[in-house]
């Protein structure tokens, strides 16, 4: 039991270590000292100095990651490798931008309404690949990719034509009603009420998954569908409900990015956020606490790369994203070094036992 837990923790940790080592080699290309890169990443990703503290900005950036990570995690928990979060995120954002600019209701009514409708539309959008998977056996990865692309084109069309604010250079929608903007704790940091909502949802997810009968069903279907069906759990229903819930959460992420951060949608609104969610869920070991930690970690790396590296060290800001991609790559090929890791752990365990004995 202990060994299994150790390997589960050792795997993402070694992927991160390997990713960092590989990134160091890439940094060497620029002639900048890797150590100073690390220092800058930490300072500009997680530091507290400056006009707007980088840590606050990181917490802001981590918000949509937490939510799309949670959405991907729900898929993992029920045994489906879902990558449809991107499209659902975009759909949620579209609804928020549209309603946010057109509604004329007091904000206590409008904001919850916008959120609920965004989630509903995203859930419906997520229902399509879920139904195709469960009822027809269509490969969920292929259908998700298609759905993501369709959402991207719908967005491009909408901001280029019907929702376009002005005929100016950039295709973007009108700014939403000022009253509907979500509160930010530190102005300009993106860190605000949506962060709290995300954290609350993670906590709720933890309790639902691990402490309720519904969550029990989800876990059993994901771990052993034969066992679940034998016990009378309707696995089809559980899979569809779980994936749709994930879709609603991804939609909420898009919605809150519009309400709390961008206040409009524009061309290229989603730049791979869905895949980021997948990375977060994988690295976070499909656990809400893991998702929380990894979201902040990845957001910090990205933030640090964006703010610090390019400006103060002239290391390309893509290094942050490269580092994250490398870590995922090392997760993907973990089968290669997993046996070695297991041997190492069991040797340590044996040594410890000998010491105790």
């Amino acid at each position: 039991m202990k060994k299994i837990k150790a390997i589960n923790l050792a795997m993402p940790v070694s992927a991160i270590i390997l990713g960092v080592i590989a990134s160091m080699l890439l940094i060497a290309l620029t002639g900048v000292s890797p150590l100073s890169v690390l220092e800058t990443l930490l300072k500009d990703g997680f530091g507290l100095s400056g006009k707007v503290a980088p840590l606050f900005m990181t917490l802001g950036t981590s918000t949509p990651l937490m939510l799309t990570g949670l959405a991907a995690m729900l898929g993992f928990k029920v045994g489906v490798f879902s990558i449809a979060q991107e499209g659902q995120y975009v759909m949620g954002a579209i609804i928020a931008a549209w309603l946010g600019a057109s509604l004329n209701l007091p904000s206590p009514i409008a904001v919850p309404m916008i959120m609920i409708l965004s989630m509903a539309v995203a859930a419906l959008y997520g229902l399509i690949p879920a139904l195709l998977k469960v009822k027809l056996g269509v490969n969920e990865i292929i259908s998700s990719i298609m759905m993501n692309n369709i959402a991207a084109y719908v967005l491009e069309y909408l901001v280029a034509f019907p929702m376009r604010a002005d005929a100016g250079q950039k295709a973007q929608s009108a700014v939403i009603n000022r009253d509907y903007w979500l509160y930010q704790f530190v102005y300009g940091s993106r860190w605000g009420i949506s962060f709290v909502i995300a954290v609350v949802l993670l906590i709720v997810a933890y309790f639902v998954i691990f402490k309720t009968g519904k969550g029990y069903k989800v876990r059993m279907v994901g771990q052993n569908i034969n066992f679940a069906s034998y016990g009378g759990i309707r696995s089809d229903k559980v899979i569809i409900t779980t994936l749709t819930t994930g879709a609603a959460i991804a939609g909420l992420a898009g919605c809150m990015e519009v309400l709390g951060n961008y206040h409009r949608i524009m061309t290229g609104f989603s730049s791979g956020l869905g895949f980021d969610g997948l990375s977060v869920a994988m690295l976070g070991m499909s656990h809400p606490a893991g998702v929380f930690i990894v979201s902040i970690l990845l957001a910090g790396i990205r933030q640090g790369a964006q703010l610090g590296l390019q400006i103060s060290l002239s290391v390309p800001r893509e290094l942050g994203a490269v580092l994250i991609a490398l870590v995922i790559l090392f997760v993907a090929v973990s089968d290669v070094y997993r046996p070695a890791l297991e041997r190492l752990l069991s040797r340590k365990e044996r040594k410890n036992r000998r010491k105790e004995g």
């Binding site: 399509i128 056996g137 292929i142 991609a325």
Partner: protein, 319 residues
């Protein structure tokens, strides 16, 4: 407006050009699907290949004697190196799958993420360029007029005057059609993909089939990438593939994973692209409506095919 005012010979020519990378990707994806190894990393392969093509061409052009004397030859060599590079990516995939049973889906997602970022990173770190990179010394692949065919009216214009990668995509399509339909190896590939045990029980090597499919899909992705960066234009931009690899995956499914079908679907997607561009210029119809069609159609086709398969299974059960 007459339909022929919209679909001119220029539109058809640009359709063929736009279709070329999609066709190359689709042929590779179809082959992999037939062999039972889902390769979803093709999009990333293409982006990395596009980068390798322009970098290797640049290096040969400026730092080798041959390249300095024959600029066009440098580009050809760059394309060749990129094809080999793509093959290497496929080889790595095959090795990881065969030796360690690595999950190719997860690996592909990582590959696609990495491809997008690492190309831009190196572009900035090494060549100190942001956004796009091009070098005036690089010469694009020349257009080749096919003898005889080019003199045929209309058809000559349609079938001739492209660069070598376009012709290669046709040649590969024909070769793969022949391979799958007429040779024993095609039969082996199908057997491995459809029923691995059946293949193993008669001594067919699953390993060889997988290596072949993944390596060839890599080579084809390499050509697709080279086509984008040194084939038509000579530049590299962020996300050079722009989803063409995924379109290739879709086209393969659209064409029932047969090379002929994948070719036709790739051509159709290319045509949709060209038409979208054209309509944007001459009409007010938004191009997005046409550009989104391949994805919608793929979902529809997938659903229909799966529904039919399911119904057949049920029918047999009821019988």
């Amino acid at each position: 407006m007459n339909i022929f005012d919209i679909i001119t010979i220029n539109v058809l020519q640009s359709a063929i050009r736009l279709a070329t990378p999609i066709i190359l990707a689709a042929l590779g994806a179809a082959l992999c699907n037939k062999a039972g190894v889902l390769n979803l990393g093709i999009d990333g392969f293409i982006t990395m290949s596009a980068f390798v093509a322009i970098v290797s061409t640049y290096l040969i052009r400026n730092f080798t004697a041959i390249g300095m004397m024959h600029p066009v030859l440098a580009t050809f060599l760059g394309v060749l190196i990129t094809a080999l590079f793509g093959g290497l990516l496929g080889l790595i995939y095959a090795f990881l799958k065969d030796r360690f049973n690595v999950d190719l889906v997860v690996l592909s997602i990582a590959t696609n993420m990495l491809a997008l970022e690492i190309t831009v990173y190196i572009m900035r770190a090494v060549f100190h360029q942001s956004g796009t990179w091009s070098d005036s010394s690089i010469v694009q692949l020349p257009s080749i007029e096919l003898p005889l065919i080019s003199s045929i009216p209309v058809l000559g214009d349609l079938l001739s005057g492209y660069n070598i990668i376009v012709y290669l995509s046709w040649i590969f399509a024909v070769l793969l059609i022949v391979l799958m339909k007429k040779t024993k190896w095609g039969r082996y590939i199908t057997a491995v993909g459809e029923n691995r045990d059946a293949a193993v029980s008669v001594g067919i090597s699953v390993t060889k089939v997988r290596y072949f499919a993944l390596i060839l899909s890599g080579v084809l992705s390499g050509l697709a990438g080279a086509f984008l960066s040194v084939g038509h234009l000579t530049l590299f931009t962020r996300d050079m593939s722009a989803g063409r690899g995924w379109l290739g995956n879709a086209a393969a499914l659209f064409g029932f994973n047969n090379p002929g079908g994948a070719f036709a679907a790739g051509l159709f997607f290319g045509f949709a692209d060209a038409l979208a561009l054209r309509l944007q210029n001459v009409t007010k119809i938004p191009s997005y409506i046409i550009q989104v069609m391949p994805y919608v159609l793929t979902i529809v086709i997938l659903s229909i095919v799966s529904y039919k398969a399911l119904r057949d299974r049920r029918k047999r059960k009821a019988a």
